[in-house]
C-alpha cells in the first residue's frame, strides 16, 4: 500500500521532532542539567520508517536504547522523554528506576528492555510465540545494533523464531560502530542480514538513511509475519553521527572528516529534499515545522523541569507483582 502524502509529511515531522528532542538532550547534558544521554541521531529514518509499518495498539515493539524516534512515533510524548532524562517520577518507562532511553511503554505494547545487549531478542521471539499460540495476526518488531548481533542471545532468538515460523522482524540498525569498534570487529560478513541465511531466514539489507525505503522493506517483513510466513532479518545501514553516549568522546577512534562526510547523508536532509522534490513540502513549510518543533521541545523541557522527583522510598517497590517489598 503506497504511503499517502499526509503520511509522508507526518513521518518527516516525527523524524524532525525526534532530532530536535535528541539535540536538546545533548544541550541539557552539556549544561549540566541531566546526567546522561544516549542518542539516536542519524537513525531517525530507519526508526520512523520501521514503526510506520506497525499497526498501533495491535503489533508489538521490543526496542533498544537508541529508538527514540520509534518511541515518539508510537506515542511517547516529548515531555515524558524529558522527564526520563531528568529522572522524574512520572516518566513512563520505569518510574525513573532505569537510566534514560531504557524504553518501555505498556500502553503502546512496547516492552521494557535492559542494558546488557541482545537480552531483549529472545523476548521478541517469546511474544511472537504467544501470538502464534493464540492464532492472532499481530506481529513483533525488535531492534538491535549491529554490535549486539555478536551475542549468542540474538542468534538463539532468531533461531527459535526460524524453527517455529514466528511473526517477528529482527531489525538491525547498523550504525557502523559499537562504541569504538567498527563493524569489521563484530562480524566477518558484509551485513548482519547475511547471518540470517545460516539460520534459515530471509536476510534483507536496506538503506537506513532513506525513510520511505525502510518503510517499504519492514512492511514487507511485517506482512509476511502477519500472514504466518515467519520471521525475517532486516539490516538498515546508516551512520552514528554522535558519540556513543554523553560519556563517550568519539574523536579518540574516528576522524572528524569521516563524521563530516556522513553528515551529507543525514536522513533528515535526504527526506526533506525528497519531499520538496515531490512537491509535498516548501522551505516555508519546513521553517514552520522547525518553529513548531522548537515550541514543542521548549514546552517539554519546561513541563519536565516542573515535574516532581520520586520519593527515595519509592525505590522499595514493586519487587513482586501486586505486592510491596517486605523489609527485614
Amino acid at each position: 500500500m503506497p504511503l499517502s502524502q499526509e503520511k509522508k509529511k507526518e513521518m518527516f515531522w516525527m523524524m524532525l521532532l525526534s532530532r530536535r528532542v535528541d539535540e536538546r538532550a545533548w544541550v541539557l547534558h552539556r549544561q549540566g542539567k541531566i546526567a546522561f544521554h544516549i542518542s539516536g541521531i542519524g537513525q531517525e529514518a530507519a526508526q520512523v520508517g520501521a514503526v510506520y509499518a506497525l499497526k498501533k495498539g495491535k503489533d508489538w515493539l521490543v526496542p533498544y536504547y537508541r529508538d527514540l524516534a520509534m518511541m515518539l512515533a508510537l506515542g511517547m510524548t516529548p515531555t515524558e522523554f524529558m522527564m526520563s532524562l531528568m529522572g522524574k517520577a512520572a516518566e513512563p518507562t520505569s518510574g525513573a528506576r532505569q537510566m534514560p532511553s531504557h524504553f518501555s511503554l505498556r500502553r503502546a505494547n512496547i516492552v521494557s528492555h535492559s542494558a546488557p545487549v541482545a537480552t531483549q531478542s529472545p523476548h521478541a521471539s517469546g511474544i511472537a510465540f504467544g501470538i502464534k499460540m493464540d492464532g492472532s495476526d499481530a506481529a513483533v518488531l525488535t531492534c538491535i545494533g549491529e554490535g549486539a548481533t555478536s551475542q549468542g542471545e540474538w542468534y538463539e532468538a532468531v533461531n527459535f523464531a526460524a524453527v517455529h515460523t514466528l511473526p517477528v522482524v529482527f531489525l538491525v540498525e547498523n550504525n557502523q560502530y559499537a562504541i569504538s569498534e567498527p563493524q569489521e570487529m563484530q562480524m566477518a560478513v558484509n551485513s548482519a542480514a547475511d547471518k540470517a541465511c545460516g539460520l534459515g531466514l530471509p536476510g534483507i539489507q536496506v538503506d537506513g538513511t532513506r525513510v520511505f525505503e525502510v518503510y517499504e522493506t519492514v512492511l514487507g517483513g511485517i506482512e509476511n509475519a502477519r500472514k504466518g510466513e515467519g520471521a525475517s532479518v532486516i539490516e538498515a545501514k546508516m551512520y552514528r553521527l554522535t558519540p556513543h553516549s554523553s560519556d563517550d568522546d568519539d574523536r579518540s577512534y574516528r576522524t572528524r572528516e569521516e563524521v563530516e562526510t556522513h553528515k551529507e547523508q543525514d536522513p533528515i536532509l535526504l527526506a526533506k529534499e525528497q519531499l520538496i522534490e515531490e512537491g509535498l513540502l516548501t522551505e516555508e513549510d519546513y521553517e514552520k515545522l522547525e518553529e513548531k518543533a522548537k515550541t514543542v521541545v521548549d514546552e517539554a523541557v519546561k513541563a519536565a523541569n516542573e515535574a516532581p522527583y520520586p520519593k527515595g522510598n519509592e525505590a522499595a517497590y514493586p519487587v513482586y507483582a501486586g505486592e510491596e517489598v517486605q523489609h527485614g
Binding site: 521494557s112 529472545p122 523476548h123 517469546g126 549468542g152
Partner: protein, 328 residues
C-alpha cells in the same frame, strides 16, 4: 488419597494446570514426545499437543528468554531446565530480565513464569548432573525460590507457582523423584502457598532446618535419634525466597538449638542466610552455636561412588550432627 511418587506429583500438577489454564504451556528439552528425561511430562504431549508441550532447541537461554517473552505477552510458561547444572546459560535472562522486569517497569510488565529444574546429587551424576544451585537465585529480589520435599507439597507448590504472577524458580530433588512417595488427594483440588515453611516434626531439643532431599533425610535422622531420647524438631523451609522468618524464629525460640542442613556446599550457601537470621533475631533464644551441615567446598559432586558418598549428606551424617548438637 493415593500414594504417588514425587515426580508423578509434579506431572499431575502440570497436567491439571494445563487443563485449567489455556495460557499455560510447557517448554524444555525433550519434554514433548519423550515426556522428559525424568518422565515428568509423560502423557502431556499427547494430551495437549506440540503447541503447548514444546520441545525447545538445545539452548537453555532460549527456553527462559522465549519464556519471558511469552509471559510478557500474557502466557504462563512452565520452563524445564533438564538439569539444574545446565541453568547457567540462562542465568542472565533469569537474573537480569525475569527478576527485574516488574521493578524496572514500575509494575507495567510482569513475568508469570515457572522455571523447573531437577537438582542434587547422590545419583552418580558427577560434576554436571548433581549440582544444587539454589543459593545463586535465593539472592535475587524479584525471584521466588521453591524446593519441595514430598509429593503433596510438590504438587501444591507447583500449582501455586504456575498461578503466581512472578517468576518462580522450582527446584526438584531428583534423587527423590521416585524414592519419595506420599499421599496426595486424588479427587480434590488443592494448592500449597508459596512462602510458609512447615514444621514437619515437633521436637524439644533442637531444630533441623532443611529443604528438598535433605529434609527427607532429616526426618529419617530425627526418627533414628528419637530412639535415643533426643526430640528433634524438623522444619521444611519449602520456600527459600522470600523466606519464612517467623516460623524459623518461632522454632528457635522453642528449642534454642539450630542445625541447618543442605547438600549444596557450605560457603555462601543458603544455610548462611538462615544462620544469620537466627543470629540476628534469635540470639537471645540460643542455647548453642548455630550449626551448619553442608556439602564440602569442592567444585562438584564426584562421579565415583566412594567419592560421591564422601561428598553427600546422608541420614547418618545428619543423625550424628543432631547427637552432637543435642549434647552441647
Amino acid at each position: 488419597m493415593a500414594e504417588i511418587t514425587l515426580v508423578e506429583a509434579i506431572r499431575q500438577a502440570m497436567d491439571e494446570e494445563l487443563a485449567r489454564d489455556e495460557n499455560a504451556f510447557v517448554i524444555g528439552e525433550d519434554v514433548g514426545v519423550r515426556g522428559g528425561v525424568f518422565r515428568s511430562t509423560v502423557g502431556l504431549f499427547d494430551k495437549y499437543g506440540p503447541e503447548r508441550v514444546v520441545d525447545s532447541p538445545l539452548a537453555e537461554l532460549t527456553i527462559v528468554g522465549v519464556g519471558i517473552g511469552a509471559a510478557l505477552y500474557g502466557k504462563h510458561p512452565i520452563c524445564e531446565i533438564q538439569f539444574a547444572d545446565f541453568i547457567f546459560p540462562a542465568f542472565n535472562q533469569i537474573v537480569s530480565e525475569a527478576a527485574r522486569m516488574n521493578y524496572r517497569s514500575n509494575g507495567d510488565w510482569t513475568v508469570p513464569m515457572v522455571i523447573r529444574a531437577p537438582y542434587g546429587g547422590g545419583i552418580g551424576g558427577g560434576l554436571y548432573h548433581s549440582q544444587s544451585v539454589e543459593a545463586f537465585f535465593a539472592h535475587v529480589p524479584g525471584l521466588k525460590v521453591v524446593i519441595p520435599s514430598n509429593p503433596y507439597d510438590a504438587k501444591g507448590l507447583l500449582k501455586s507457582a504456575v498461578r503466581d504472577p512472578n517468576p518462580v524458580m522450582f527446584f526438584e530433588p531428583k534423587k527423590g523423584y521416585r524414592l519419595i512417595k506420599g499421599e496426595v488427594p486424588d479427587d480434590e483440588e488443592y494448592t500449597v502457598p508459596i512462602g510458609p515453611a512447615k514444621v514437619s516434626r515437633e521436637g524439644r531439643d533442637l531444630t533441623v532446618f532443611s529443604y528438598g532431599m535433605m529434609h527427607h533425610y532429616a526426618l529419617q535422622a530425627a526418627e533414628t535419634v528419637a530412639g535415643e531420647g533426643i526430640e528433634a524438631e524438623v522444619v521444611d523451609l519449602r520456600t527459600l525466597y522470600p523466606v519464612d522468618r517467623e516460623t524459623i524464629l518461632k522454632s528457635v525460640k522453642k528449642t534454642s538449638k539450630a542445625l541447618i542442613v543442605h547438600e549444596d556446599n557450605l560457603t555462601g550457601g543458603y544455610g548462611a542466610e538462615i544462620a544469620a537470621t537466627i543470629a540476628e533475631w534469635g540470639f537471645m533464644d540460643l542455647d548453642a552455636p548455630v550449626r551448619r551441615l553442608a556439602g564440602p567446598d569442592v567444585p562438584g559432586v564426584p562421579f565415583s561412588h566412594p567419592m560421591q558418598n564422601w561428598f553427600m549428606i546422608s541420614p547418618e551424617k545428619i543423625a550424628d550432627a543432631i547427637r552432637d548438637l543435642a549434647a552441647f
